[in-house]
C-alpha cells in the first residue's frame, strides 16, 4: 500500500453493525511490520478504518486499574461497541463526560478479540468520536446503505478478490446484509412518514425495527413479497451478540 514516504490514507468504510460485527477475519497485505491490518467485511471489502454514526446509548468504565471506557453505539440494525483507554484520551474523555443518549460519529479502526468461548468479537478503536445531529445520522444510514449495496452488486465479480476471500472465510450468505440494508432504509422511510407506496408493502408486513436502548438484539422482518428475492429463506436472524 505504501507509496514512498507518504502511504495512501486508508478509506473509511461504511457498514451497518449487522455486517461489521461479523467481520471477524483480519489480514495484512504485506510482511512489513507497519503494514495496515484489515478486517474483512463479509460483503467483500477490506476495512482498515470505518466511519459510523449512531446513537450512543450507554457508556461504562470497564477498566480495572486505568480507565477503559466502553460505548454502545446503536444503529438501525444493531450495535457497535467501542473502547477507549489511555491511548485514545480524547475519545475516553468524551465517553466519560457525555450524557447519553446522543447521536455520535465515530472514525475508528476495527479491532477483533477472541472471547473465552472461542467467538470473535469485533469492536471499534476510536480515532475521533464527536457529537452530531439527527441529519448526520440519517445521511449516514443512506450512505451506508448505498455503499453496502455497491459491495453486494460487485460480490459476484470474478475479479473481486475480497469477495472471494469472504466466501472462503465466512459461511454467511451475503443476502442477509441486503436484508440489513432494507431494514435500515425502511426505518428511515417510516420515520419520514412517506408511507411506503411500493407493492412490497401490500402483503401487510410491518417492518419491525424496534430497538431497545440496550440494543442487544434486533428483530428483522423480511419482505416476503419482494420481487426476485432469492434469500427469502433467510428469515429472521439475530445480529451478532457481543454481550459476553
Amino acid at each position: 500500500m505504501s507509496q514512498g514516504q507518504a502511504p495512501m490514507r486508508e478509506l473509511a468504510q461504511r457498514a451497518f453493525a449487522g455486517e461489521f460485527n461479523d467481520a471477524g477475519y483480519t489480514f495484512r497485505e504485506s510482511d512489513d511490520d507497519r503494514a495496515p491490518v484489515y478486517a474483512l467485511l463479509p460483503t467483500g471489502a477490506k476495512a482498515n478504518r470505518v466511519f459510523v454514526v449512531g446513537t450512543l446509548t450507554e457508556t461504562d468504565d470497564v477498566g480495572s486499574d486505568d480507565e477503559y471506557w466502553q460505548g454502545r453505539i446503536v444503529g438501525p440494525t444493531g450495535t457497535f461497541f467501542t473502547y477507549a483507554g489511555q491511548y485514545q484520551p480524547e475519545a475516553a474523555a468524551m465517553l466519560r463526560e457525555v450524557d447519553p443518549p446522543v447521536f455520535v460519529a465515530l472514525v475508528g479502526k476495527p479491532r477483533t478479540y477472541e472471547t473465552d468461548d472461542g467467538d470473535t468479537n469485533v469492536s471499534l478503536r476510536p480515532e475521533h468520536l464527536t457529537v452530531v445531529d439527527a441529519d448526520t445520522r440519517n445521511r449516514w444510514v443512506t450512505e451506508t446503505a448505498k455503499r453496502t449495496l455497491e459491495r453486494l452488486e460487485r460480490f459476484e465479480d470474478d475479479t473481486n478478490e475480497y469477495a472471494a476471500m469472504a466466501r472462503e472465510e465466512y459461511d454467511t450468505d451475503p443476502d442477509q446484509y441486503r436484508q440489513t440494508v432494507i431494514q435500515a432504509l425502511e426505518e428511515l422511510t417510516d420515520d419520514a412518514e412517506t408511507a411506503p407506496t411500493s407493492q412490497d408493502q401490500a402483503g401487510g408486513v410491518t417492518p419491525s425495527t424496534a430497538e431497545d436502548a440496550s440494543g442487544s438484539t434486533t428483530e428483522v422482518s423480511t419482505d416476503e413479497d419482494s420481487p426476485s428475492q432469492s434469500g427469502g429463506d433467510i428469515g429472521d436472524f439475530d445480529t451478532t451478540d457481543l454481550d459476553s
Partner: protein, 312 residues
C-alpha cells in the same frame, strides 16, 4: 520618437539581456538612438537589431532573451514550468490583500483554461489592474512554489486592457463526504511575516527565514471521505472561521487563556468532525483548497435505495 521612449526601451533591453552579456544602459541607449534618430529605423526593429548585436558578440542563444514579440502567447493551463517568459491574455478574477509593501497587487488571473496567481511588484511601477477587466500581459515570468505555478509582472511587462470578456475556466473540483480527520498543523498557526513567504512556522522558525515573530492564521487540514474516495482538503482562515464558527481573534483569546494553541484545533475538531460537507475549490497537489462549502443535511434518497436493494 521621444527620448523617454528610447530610454524605456533601453532599460527593457538592459533588464532582459542575460548577466553574461556585457552591456551598459548607456551603451544600449546610444545604439538605439543612433538607429532610431539617425537611421530612421522603427523602434521595434531597432530593438531587435541592438539585441542581435549584443547576442552575436556573446554565445547566448537568442531564445534566452525575451522580447514582447518573441514570447509565446500561452494559455494559463500551459504554464507548467518556472522561469519562462510568456505573454498571456487573462481576466483579473480576484484581487487579494498584499501581505507586504513591496507588492503592489496580488491576485488571481483567469482565462478559459483555468486560473493562476499573479504578483505585481511595487518597484515595477506598473499601472493598476482592475478586477473583472481583461488584459493582454506581455512579458510576464512564470514561477513555481510547491507545485503551484504563478506569474510575476515586472518592469518590462506590457499591460493592454482589452475590450472583451473572458469566461474564466472552471478548474475547481468538489468533494462530498464526512470530515473524518483534522490533521496536525490545523487550528491556530503562525506564518512567516516575510514578504511573499507564507510558510507556517515550526517552533517559531520559518524554514527559509529563520526565527520570527510570525502572524497568526487559522486553517484546517482535513480529510473528506465518502466511503468510496478520500480527498484531503484545506480550509483557509475565512472558511475555517465559518465552518467552525470561530473568529481568529476568539481563537487567539482561547489560546491565550489556555496558554496553549492546541485548544483551538480541539475546539474545531469537536464542532466539525463527523459532519458531512460538500466542498469546492481548486486542487493544489493532493489538497483541495476550499473556496466554498456547505454542511450537508439531506440524505441519499432512501426510496430509490430501497428499490435498488430489492432488485439485486
Amino acid at each position: 520618437m521621444s527620448n523617454s521612449d528610447i530610454q524605456q526601451e533601453a532599460q527593457d533591453i538592459h533588464d532582459q539581456l542575460p548577466e553574461s552579456v556585457d552591456a551598459s544602459l548607456d551603451d544600449i541607449e546610444e545604439r538605439l538612438t543612433t538607429l532610431v534618430d539617425d537611421y530612421r529605423v522603427p523602434l521595434d526593429e531597432a530593438r531587435r537589431s541592438v539585441v542581435s548585436t549584443y547576442l552575436s558578440d556573446s554565445d547566448v542563444d537568442r531564445d534566452e532573451v525575451s522580447s514582447e514579440d518573441g514570447n509565446q502567447q500561452v494559455d494559463l493551463d500551459e504554464i507548467t514550468e518556472a522561469e519562462q517568459w510568456v505573454d498571456i491574455t487573462a481576466k483579473v478574477a480576484d484581487l487579494w490583500e498584499p501581505r507586504s509593501d513591496s507588492i503592489a497587487q496580488v491576485g488571481l488571473l483567469g482565462d478559459e483554461t483555468g486560473t493562476i496567481k499573479f504578483t505585481k511588484w511595487a518597484k515595477s511601477d506598473l499601472e493598476t489592474l482592475t478586477e473583472g477587466q481583461v488584459y493582454r500581459l506581455g512579458n510576464v515570468v512564470t514561477d513555481e512554489y510547491q507545485g503551484q505555478y504563478s506569474v510575476k509582472l515586472n518592469r518590462t511587462t506590457t499591460i493592454e486592457a482589452l475590450d472583451r470578456d473572458i469566461e474564466v475556466g472552471d478548474d475547481t473540483t468538489d468533494a462530498e463526504g464526512a470530515l473524518v480527520d483534522i490533521q496536525s498543523g490545523s487550528g491556530l498557526i503562525k506564518r512567516c511575516p516575510e514578504a511573499d513567504c507564507t510558510r507556517v512556522l515550526q517552533n517559531g522558525r520559518c524554514s527559509e527565514h529563520g526565527e520570527g515573530e510570525g502572524e497568526f492564521d487559522l486553517r484546517i487540514k482535513g480529510v473528506i471521505d465518502n466511503g468510496d474516495t478520500v480527498q484531503e482538503v484545506i480550509f483557509d482562515k475565512e472558511a475555517t472561521e465559518q465552518v467552525a464558527d470561530i473568529t481568529l481573534s476568539q481563537a487567539q483569546e482561547m489560546a491565550m487563556d489556555a496558554l496553549d494553541t492546541s485548544v483551538v484545533a480541539d475546539e474545531i475538531r469537536e464542532v466539525t468532525l463527523g459532519h458531512y460537507y460538500r466542498v469546492q475549490g481548486p486542487e493544489l497537489g493532493r489538497y483541495l483548497l476550499v473556496n466554498e462549502f456547505e454542511q450537508l443535511a439531506e440524505m441519499y434518497d432512501p426510496e430509490q435505495l430501497l428499490i435498488t436493494a430489492r432488485s439485486i
